[in-house]
């Protein structure tokens, strides 16, 4: 584990239980994202529920790419994107590309955003979510050769920005506690 190697000193090889603990903490961001995405597909009977899948996926990938990119490497983001395509009946690859792009933007803005507060992260995410849902809309139109109404895209962007605090607050406490490999 890279984060342990960085600290100087000699310490015993971690026990099996401890390694399992570290692995579970490292898995947390990917697992919680997939779990929440599956939950948005549950028969809740909410109006406009279909838009919650991309909104939740965008919020989760944005948060964990900013705060724990080591636990959400590009291959995992790619798989989450493919899952979004399959669950959300989007043309294959559209979600994968969009989430990878969001991940890339988060990595690029990590340093500048870490110096600012949570409010800035939210505002920038609103912009990123708008760009992402616009790109999904354009790519779906391109791949299906059809003109589609832009309202679902606007709804996804608004929903993503609206539910981001609901995701970010519990994630921030998880980031300090159960998802923190330093605490293993």
């Amino acid at each position: 584990m890279a984060h342990i190697d960085r600290r100087p000193g000699i310490r015993p090889r971690p026990s099996f239980g401890r390694r399992l603990d570290i692995a579970a903490r490292a898995c947390f961001p990917g697992c919680i994202t997939i779990l929440l995405m599956l939950l948005t597909q549950a028969p809740l009977g909410l109006p406009g529920q279909a838009a919650s899948l991309p909104a939740v996926a965008l919020g989760c990938v944005w948060f964990w790419s900013l705060f724990r990119p080591a636990a959400l490497p590009p291959p995992i983001v790619f798989l989450i994107g493919l899952l979004m395509d399959l669950l959300g009946y989007l043309p294959l690859g559209v979600g994968a590309f969009t989430l990878l792009a969001v991940h890339g933007v988060a990595l690029a803005m990590r340093r500048s955003l870490s110096r600012r507060g949570g409010g800035w992260i939210w505002i920038v995410f609103a912009g990123v979510a708008a760009a992402a849902s616009l790109s999904i809309w354009l790519m779906v139109m391109l791949l299906t050769f059809r003109l589609l109404s832009p309202y679902p895209a606007i709804f996804i962007a608004v929903l993503a920005a609206a539910i981001f605090p609901l995701l970010a607050v519990p994630f921030a406490s998880a980031h300090r506690s159960i998802a923190n490999p330093e605490r293993a």
Partner: protein, 293 residues
């Protein structure tokens, strides 16, 4: 395991993102080239997830029922009055319908009318949305050996819902009549004129291509047409409604927003279903149809 230098590992790590972005473009092309691949993957995923959704449906249904019950308790008196009035009207309509039915039977008997074949049907629960943002479809939990086939017709208690487009091991996907890809041959009930009902992804599909000299009347009933051998004739779809801009739309009779249970009818029609790709496995005996009524 090959030990790489730190620089090499860092370079590899930096390359993963661009490489995966290129791969996702490749996946887009692959999905475009082989549409069956995506459909199979989706059906397999739905088959795997449907037991979870079915298990969740019961407690979620109880919560919904509790919420609606408290809501209906508020306006029970007004609702009761409305239902009494409606019941009186319906009773009058029932006697008219019974008289017309008897007359119809007599006329058919004197004409030696060949009776329509009785369609078999199965009933299935709607467990999830299967359309995403840019399509309108629902997922049914069907269980193994349900005998449901592509192209069969889904109807709820009020009217036409859609058509089966994909069948998995324990799921089936119904493309709703409101979907962008839905095209249904219809008949306007009073003028008997044919038209096409075109889905728009909105709540009301649009009416198009009616013959010259006929105008769909506001409130006119729209039923399926047996043209193209895709639907049986005279399944109720909805009523004509004009938008403020003058577009003829159809208000679906089926409650497409809150589908819970649908009936899947097998009329033995295969007008517009693309032939299934050849199966490489050896042919197996057709499983006995279970649950057919």
């Amino acid at each position: 395991m090959i030990r790489l230098s730190i620089q090499a590992r860092q370079a590899l790590a930096r390359l993963t993102l661009p490489v995966l972005i290129v791969v996702s473009f490749g996946v887009m092309l692959l999905g475009k080239a082989d549409t069956l691949l995506a459909d199979r993957a989706r059906t397999a995923l739905a088959d795997g997830l449907v037991p979870i959704y079915t298990a969740l449906a019961a407690p979620l249904g109880r919560i919904h029922a509790a919420i609606t019950e408290t809501a209906t308790l508020w306006d029970m008196r007004a609702e009761n009055d409305r239902l009494r009035a409606e019941n009186d009207t319906l009773r009058r309509w029932q006697s008219v319908a019974l008289a017309l039915d008897a007359e119809n039977q007599r006329l058919k008997a004197s004409l030696r009318w060949i009776p329509d074949p009785q369609a078999s049907f199965v009933t299935a629960r709607v467990v999830a949305d299967a359309g995403g943002v840019y399509a309108k479809a629902v997922l049914l939990s069907t269980g193994p050996n349900s005998g449901i086939h592509k192209g069969e017709i889904a109807v709820d208690e009020r009217g036409l819902v859609g058509r089966i487009t994909e069948v998995g091991a324990r799921t089936a996907r119904v493309l709703l009549i409101t979907d962008l890809n839905s095209r249904i041959p219809v008949t306007l009930e009073t003028s008997r004129a044919h038209a096409i009902l075109v889905g728009t992804n909105g709540n009301r599909p649009r009416l198009q291509y009616w013959p010259e000299g006929v105008t769909p009347q506001e409130g006119e009933r729209v039923v399926t047409s047996a043209e193209a051998n895709a639907f049986p004739a005279n399944l109720p779809i909805g009523t004509v409604h004009y938008t403020s801009s003058g577009t003829a739309e159809v208000e679906p009779a089926a409650m497409l927003q809150k589908l819970e249970v649908v009936r899947i009818f097998d009329y033995g029609l295969n007008g517009v279903v693309a032939p299934e790709p050849p199966v490489t496995e050896p042919p197996v005996a057709e499983p006995p149809m279970q649950g057919r009524h």
